[in-house]
Symmetry: C2
């Protein structure tokens, strides 16, 4: 292998691909990145056996070939070089690097031992604006469960139907659901579960190069999904299993509805959290007569506190307790100035959603106190 | 105790005082902050038994008194409140806090059990611009030793003499020395050792409120030092012991002198560090004939690298090895574009100093390889 390319391009490629690589002591090749000449470009690939990333770098190809080198070291070395031409050359399982006044030899491992990243050739299911996908993914991804006992809720549920892509994520204490409307009207009705880490990587990778017109193609193939951004591809396994029928917990009728300033609510919850107990519990008293809610918390060792916020309230007085972290997670994924909180009593699920946007809802279970 | 003050002032006071407080499980009162009405102001005090900080907050005093409350919680609570009037009132060993729509009761401990922070009434030794002191301290403080076997080098050596304050710090592998010229011409010749943590706190506190004309008074009293900024005071114990006679290791004659671009040198050292071995060793070859230095490093497991930088060199060819961290620590505390490196051979101490500033020198010992 022998290629000349620009530092800036190589740096970006390594930045995108290197992040999924951990520290694997039993299988050292998993700490490496694969360099390979393919279709007259330098293809850089990484994998953690669940997700694979390919990134194509343009350059002047002098000789075909391939090698794998330690990802972290190679990436750190390249990103500190000046933005000039870089020459990469493989000789005796070493990668020789030259750039201006810098020279290095990096010991590599044979490309033959690198795990195969599946090639997916199926037809795209849908093409969608990258920024829309990124924003939607980031509004739900942190609500997935990290427990390994129920793998099906450790990922984001994605349902395609006609002109809607519906995303949902839950850890059984709270749930977020997001609808994306797409231009296609003929999405075959089907659903998949994508691992949390894959969603996080897609959010990160699109964020690295956030161009307004960038599009991403989604391709399904058996138990694999491919996100194709053109310059880079992310291939991931899907999670098998039946996603819980979460629709049943979304309340249809709401006895009490509160419209309240989101920033103020977040701030007062944060303050109350300082005095909350071991289960992160804070109490909310909904007072329709005075048009305000009262947020309070106490801990026998440290003390107590109380604050009030004005709100538009329709319905009846309720006192209800929450894990403050779950409230904050939901509120921080809502981008309107005001939010609507809908509830029935102090044990049934509560809905939080943005004012003026029907495409996002957040459901949270109260705490029994 | 009963006082009304502004959130913004109280927040700043807590921010300055709270940082030295750790998590003390055996003596819970050390996790607390002392509130006390003194001279018609609210005096806030913290201590870790080595350093004490006092900070005075103006306000409307309704009733004298005192209490101690958990520092971290109190500080977090106050900093999240709106910038409005805050009422603080002590009742039954609790601190009652009111601010707009917020109310809290914080359980406290009696002020009688709070450790005494010494009051120092001696005459100031010197008054100096706070920013000058801060910058000088920060140029030497990280070179102190963290080993506890030689307490005298775990602090910064400060020598007063006529119109000079000389600072020095070393961990026996490298040393930094900084001279500050002051307006006084009559400093009594004396020297002290100030704990590293105290110096770090002074740098932090001055940095929090960096006003160009702020002055600080330094007062010595027995084994204590007081830094008085007016609105706040830092009192610290001094370290007893004899500081090593470091002057003898500063070389007088230099056979080889290199003048080189600092930024380029830092960058190339960082790159070489990626391939350095267990003792962080990198090699520098000084080549006067070609007017360049060559920086290289290698590790049998990962590979090797080499880079060159143009430099003005007077003297002879030398190959010398360093711990790259020590080189970077020195270079990062030099603020000129070019630096002078002076050396004799590959075992004697090496001097690094800014071009055009005789008040700072950094000495580093080479590694034997």
């Amino acid at each position: 292998m022998h290629i000349i390319c620009l530092q800036e391009n190589l740096k970006q490629a390594l930045n995108i691909t290197e992040k999924i690589i951990g520290r694997n002591l039993t299988l050292p090749i998993l700490n490496n990145i694969l360099l390979n000449i393919e279709n007259n470009k330098l293809k850089i690939s990484s994998t953690n056996l669940e997700i694979g990333i390919n990134y194509w770098v343009s350059g002047k190809i002098e000789e075909k070939g391939s090698i794998t080198v330690p990802a972290k070291l190679f990436s750190d070395f390249i990103s500190n070089l000046p933005n000039e031409k870089i020459e990469l050359k493989v000789k005796d399982n070493q990668l020789k690097i030259k750039c201006k006044n810098f020279k290095a030899n990096l010991k590599g491992l044979s490309a033959d031992d690198f795990p195969i990243i599946p090639k997916i050739k199926d037809k795209p299911l849908i093409k969608i604006k990258a920024s829309i996908l990124k924003n939607a993914f980031s509004q739900v991804v942190e609500m997935t469960s990290i427990s390994e006992s129920r793998p099906e809720i450790s990922g984001v549920y994605v349902m395609f139907d006609k002109n809607i892509i519906k995303l949902a994520a839950t850890d059984s204490f709270r749930l977020a659901e997001k609808n994306i409307e797409v231009n296609s009207n003929s999405l075959k009705s089907q659903s998949i579960i994508i691992p949390q880490r894959t969603i996080q990587e897609i959010v990160r990778i699109i964020g690295e190069k956030d161009e307004s017109n960038q599009e991403v193609e989604i391709i399904l193939s058996g138990s694999q999904i491919l996100f194709d951004l053109g310059y880079t591809q992310v291939i991931s396994r899907l999670i098998e299993g039946q996603y819980p029928d979460y629709q049943q917990i979304i309340p249809n009728n709401l006895e009490t509805e509160i419209i309240i300033n989101k920033k103020e609510l977040i701030n007062n919850i944060k303050i109350a959290s300082l005095f909350s107990g071991k289960v992160n519990d804070i109490k909310i008293l909904v007072n329709p007569k005075k048009s305000l809610i009262e947020i309070s918390s106490q801990d026998i060792d440290i003390g107590e506190n109380k604050s009030q916020i004005e709100a538009e309230i329709k319905g009846k007085e309720v006192e209800i307790a929450f894990n403050y972290r779950y409230l904050l997670d939901g509120l921080n994924n809502i981008f309107s100035d005001k939010v609507i909180i809908g509830l029935n009593d102090n044990i049934k699920p509560v809905i939080i959603r943005p004012v003026g946007d029907l495409n996002y809802i957040y459901i949270v279970m109260p705490i029994k106190v």
